[in-house]
Amino acid sequence: MNLSEKISIEKSVPGRRGLVFAKAAKPASAYLPAGALRKAPPRLPEMGEFEVVRHYTRLSRLNFCLDTHLYPLGSCTMKYNPRANEEIAALDGFAGAHPCAPDSAVQGTLEVLHRLEKLLCELTGLAAFTLQPAAGAHGEFTGILVAAAYHRSRKDRKRVEILVADSSHGTNPASAALGGFSVRTVASRPDGRLDMEALKAALGPQTAMVMLTVPNTLGLFEGQIRQIADAAHAAGALLYMDGANFNALLGLAKPADFGVDILHLNLHKSFSTPHGGGGPGSGPVGVAAALEKFLPVPRIAEKGGTFALQAKAAGSIGRMRSFAGNTGVAIKAYAYLRGHGAETLRSIAENAILNANYARAKLKDLFPPAVDEPCMHECVLRTEPEKTNGLKTLDVAKRLLDHGFYAPTIYFPLIVHEAIMIEPTETETKETLDAFVAALRAIHAEALADPEKVHAAPHTLPVKRLDELGAARNPNVAWG
């Protein structure tokens, strides 16, 4: 009902106070040299506590979110995350633990982390996990450094190249580059899978690793993954699996069985941490036994039911960040997994796949799939502007907002023209999917009947279409 909100600093009134603290016995100037002290106070808003509460409450209401709207954002697994997990991670015992506390004082947390590692090992078939990476991309980077360390340990210094699929997520090549590797892109076949011939041609003594996303970013299972693994291994390279889409495999398949050497998972997707407007995440990395020793420190060790955080480990690539990792996120993932038994685990993936295929089946006559076959947890469809008065993917996305749905991921993967990537996730009902399908079909019809309306969408949101170009040309990124 409110459609815009001033910026906090515009609500600021000099001298107004929110949280007030006790006064220090002596001011900082009594202890610190004058030269070190701040001359002018930082330009932060001066607001009462109530104003702050009202400001951010009202601001929040300008958002769509999963709790209010279907959020079928492909590659993002916007599924429902049980509220109990939030409560659990916030328990004083967990939330109040200092990262430098001695192991004896944090046995509860260490036990959770250890148990989670073991559960992830069981789910993936891999030998060992680190929970340190803060997100998926950070996990990729970790995995890439593990691969580098592995080749280095074998004195194999020629392996300077990493192969990535052209359909891969942008973080894959970026992470590879960050690890000092050159990146070579391998084309996908028309059916969306990696082109084995192209791969074989690309593999060589320079290849450190092949990075593959399973299911891939077209929502398709790489049926030949075992062969890909064999080819990579035969060439002396490792196989990395980007497991950000692991929701589709939970309880169905174990990547170790595919021949995967290294993989990362996104706890904030498949394992139930709400995405928080962009994070925090957690990107645990699992490895085959031979690679365990390269995992970053700290490691969590267990002996006779007592847990220890080991800061040093011979062979380790070192530390990827400060402290143990995004423990709060890991706790939620643990809580989530303990809510499931072996049977219901499998239902996660099954229903995710069911929902994606249902949406796909109900839409494919109007929005042709990038690849016309059953999909896994998401489907990539296309608009056909040439047939529909210029209805582009962006228009569909914006117009969907008017219809009360967040938009799918658009223009990704890059290899699909006018891509619309729909991932309903397993937690949406058939009724919601039916309404979503109806909205997309209605938009298609609108494009034929009243194209202007669709091109100018959204009409009912707090703002109309925003000028992105202008924003980038004259960036205003702070109130200054």
Partner: protein, 444 residues
């Protein structure tokens, strides 16, 4: 438990619509030989049992009065912050790709960036990075790109885990090259920095307050760095900036920090909050998401993610960074926290920290055998030199419900008897007295 809402009826109808006869037919996409045989998995715990299990685990952690810092600080997290970040509209939104349906998150990011800039005296910032250590790594990368140079000078007075993170980040690639500057007095000697500065140096890093809690001569070092064409990267605790001069004012080109202390719990090390800010000139080298102000088709103000040409989803292997998800909710907590405190509240907290830490230091050093390891002004943390190994002191105080600090021996054997001790505004006078009294019993 199942969070999949389908009834068997739903499932049957949907399979029919898809045109397959069974779930198994749909799953045929995964070759049979790649399907899992089974899982060794514990029994599902319904919510009541799960809560009880979690409470039992949480209870295995000990509640202690926290005098440990070392990059993670026990500040008060305001109740309003906790309540607001749990609103579904913030908690369950994604990265704001569809700006029109995400103005709440976007404006909050803009406010976050602005607040970070205000604290650090900078012009531009981003939507957050993973933590302080990785923020510094990103700053080092940016500095190398901006200057076209390869060397980063890192002080020994920097958090050792941050140094280790940079070593990991750049070790495999081999660049930027890291050179550590020793700090025997606990602080950087400007002269020592000058000695190492040459035209291969992309940036000098200065942490102030540094790992030992001490304030560095940032201005002196910045001047020397700039004189040699190098950038100055400042690392600073944001709470300290309630009383300490903004890095941008004393010459920092890029500033980073660990933002956990702004409204985020200790959480055993994460999720934390990487802060990154810089002068305007370097804006296009900032890693990660940036929110910018713009207008809509009718001229109304709005916010979008901007400058995306730096990012991995556009640039792939040539991106400024590989970061994608960041620590948005922690950044939101920091934004709300700073709005609640305002400049005055932040100053109050900072002054309480200074005051309590100094009173603690005084009381601790009055105990025979204990003294400050380093000289010099400090913020809310100091190195207490003990008459016995610091681990012993720590263990003794643990029995009294006190987390005495962080023994430094594990970072540097020479610091075996050194305990890094911190007092924030949450430590009471009573706890400070108990601490000193407990030290008295150790020394005997």
């Amino acid at each position: 438990m199942t969070y999949s809402p389908h009834t068997s009826n739903d499932r049957a109808e949907m399979l029919r619509a898809i045109g397959v006869s069974s779930m198994d037919e749909l799953l045929a996409q995964i070759p049979a030989e790649l399907r899992a045989g089974g899982y060794d998995w514990p029994a599902a715990l319904p919510e009541p049992e799960r809560m009880a299990h979690a409470r039992a685990l949480a209870a295995k952690n000990r509640a202690l009065a926290c005098f440990a810092g070392a990059g993670a600080y026990d500040h008060h997290v305001p109740a309003a912050v906790k309540a607001l970040v749990q609103r579904g509209e913030f908690l369950t939104a994604y990265t704001p790709y569809q700006a029109e349906a995400s103005q709440g998150t976007l404006q909050a990011i803009y406010e976050f960036q602005s607040s970070v800039c205000a604290l650090y005296g900078m012009d531009a910032s981003n939507a957050s990075l993973y933590d302080g250590a990785t923020a510094l790594a990103e700053a080092a990368t940016a500095a190398a790109r901006i200057t076209g140079r390869k060397k980063i000078l890192l002080p020994e007075s920097l958090h050792p885990e941050w140094r280790d993170t940079l070593k990991t980040y750049f070790g495999a690639r081999g660049e930027p090259v890291l050179e550590t500057i020793p700090c025997p007095s606990g602080r950087l000697e400007p002269a020592e920095v000058e000695r190492r500065l040459d035209d291969t140096v992309a940036a000098v890093v200065v942490a102030t307050p540094n790992f030992f809690g001490l304030l560095e001569d940032g201005a002196g070092i910045a001047e020397r760095a700039h004189a040699k064409g190098a950038l100055l990267i400042a690392a600073a605790d944001p709470v300290s900036l309630g009383v300490l001069e903004a890095p941008g004012k004393w010459g920092a080109d890029i500033a980073v920090g660990e933002g956990q202390g702004l409204g985020n719990a200790l959480n055993y090390g994460g999720p934390y909050l990487g802060l990154f800010a810089c002068q305007k000139a370097h804006m296009r080298h900032i890693p990660g998401r940036i929110c910018g102000m713009t207008t809509d088709a009718e001229g109304k103000r709005g916010f979008v993610l901007t400058l995306q040409a730096r990012e991995q989803h556009i640039r792939r292997e040539r991106a400024a960074s590989n970061i994608c998800s960041n620590e948005a909710l922690c950044a939101l907590a920091a934004t709300i926290h700073l709005a609640l405190l305002g400049p005055e509240g932040l100053k109050e907290v900072a002054e309480l920290c200074v005051d309590k830490a100094h009173r603690l230091a005084e009381k601790a050093c009055a105990v025979p055998g204990f003294r400050l390891r380093f000289e010099g002004p400090f913020f809310h943390e100091f190195v207490l030199e003990c008459p016995v190994p610091a681990e012993r002191v720590r263990n003794a105080l643990l029995k009294e419900g006190l987390l005495a600090g962080v023994p430094l021996g594990r970072f540097d054997k020479a610091l075996k008897n050194s305990l890094l001790v911190c007092a924030t505004e949450t430590r009471t006078d009573g706890e400070i007295d108990r601490y000193a009294a407990a030290l008295g019993r150790v020394s005997k």
